[in-house]
Subunit: 146 residues, 2 copies
Amino acid sequence: MKVLSKSSEYGLRALLYMVGKRGGEQEYVSIREMSEQLDISFHFLTKILQSLTQSNILASYRGPSGGVAFNIPPEKIMLSDVVRVLEGEDFFDTCLLGLPGCGEKKPCPMHQFWKEIKAALKHEFETTTLAQMGQITLDSRLRLMP
Amino acid sequence: MKVLSKSSEYGLRALLYMVGKRGGEQEYVSIREMSEQLDISFHFLTKILQSLTQSNILASYRGPSGGVAFNIPPEKIMLSDVVRVLEGEDFFDTCLLGLPGCGEKKPCPMHQFWKEIKAALKHEFETTTLAQMGQITLDSRLRLMP
DNA sequence: CCTAATTAAGAGTATTTTATCTTAATTAAA
DNA sequence: TTTAATTAAGATAAAATACTCTTAATTAGG
Ligand code: SF4
Ligand code: SF4
């Protein structure tokens, strides 16, 4: 059961790395550094973070000692914000069986159940911030989980 | 959020078609017929059903008026049985962030939540039978949902 | 026995996702 | 002002998934 694409996975890992890193404030974090620390393809990660920059979740700065930084404090960035950018707007609105147009009229026996699961997932993503995720996450997970 | 692969989607749709079809008993249903009625590639569907046959969920019969039939009554086939065959054994055992080895030691803030969601999903799939799904499903869904 | 209808099996193709490579633009610092 | 470090952007390639084609095996019925 693959919930998130590699893009989201890598994107989140990078964002969590950034949360863990910023001791004082808004310093630009090098994408190269992150790609090496997290063992993610540099160019791939660059693109992922680019789209987060274009969505104004991150700000970027080119040139030596450039990188990306939070454009919004991570206490205010919900996981759903990230996922919506990287997975698409309809991420929380799919049919369990992969069929289009979840029909309320004559639902299958899983419809109600799936509806609830989706709502729970959505709610959790919409109420969990990057900062919360970051609390425990940095080296205990990001580096050690292959 | 793509939960099931196309294989599972098509496989389930075919199985539900079969549930809806059998008026009396165990007649072999032609794969060609199903592929046309459900608008699924014949050869692709053949493979999917082949693996269900190899897993003894279905029985097959070659030659004129051959096809596939339930080897087990659909009242006793759980959705999880089908999904485990078509998606793999570890379908219900993945990490939300796509990282391997769900670690109980220092879990991220979503770990417990995701664990519960997974358990709920698993439970629902393990307690819902094909027959239950079939009750309402046949033409109201299978044909009309593109 | 012969033919047509069917599933089985495996090779081959197409599409999507994931990853890499190349070049351009920007910026700090020597 | 030159150089090196960096992100931006787009082309290309590899891998995974989804789908198609070809051939073989099986079986009912003429
Ligand atoms: S009724 Fe079932 S199959 Fe149809 S859209 Fe709802 S969950 Fe999906
Ligand atoms: S702690 Fe979070 S990221 Fe790690 S395995 Fe559990 S759910 Fe996945």
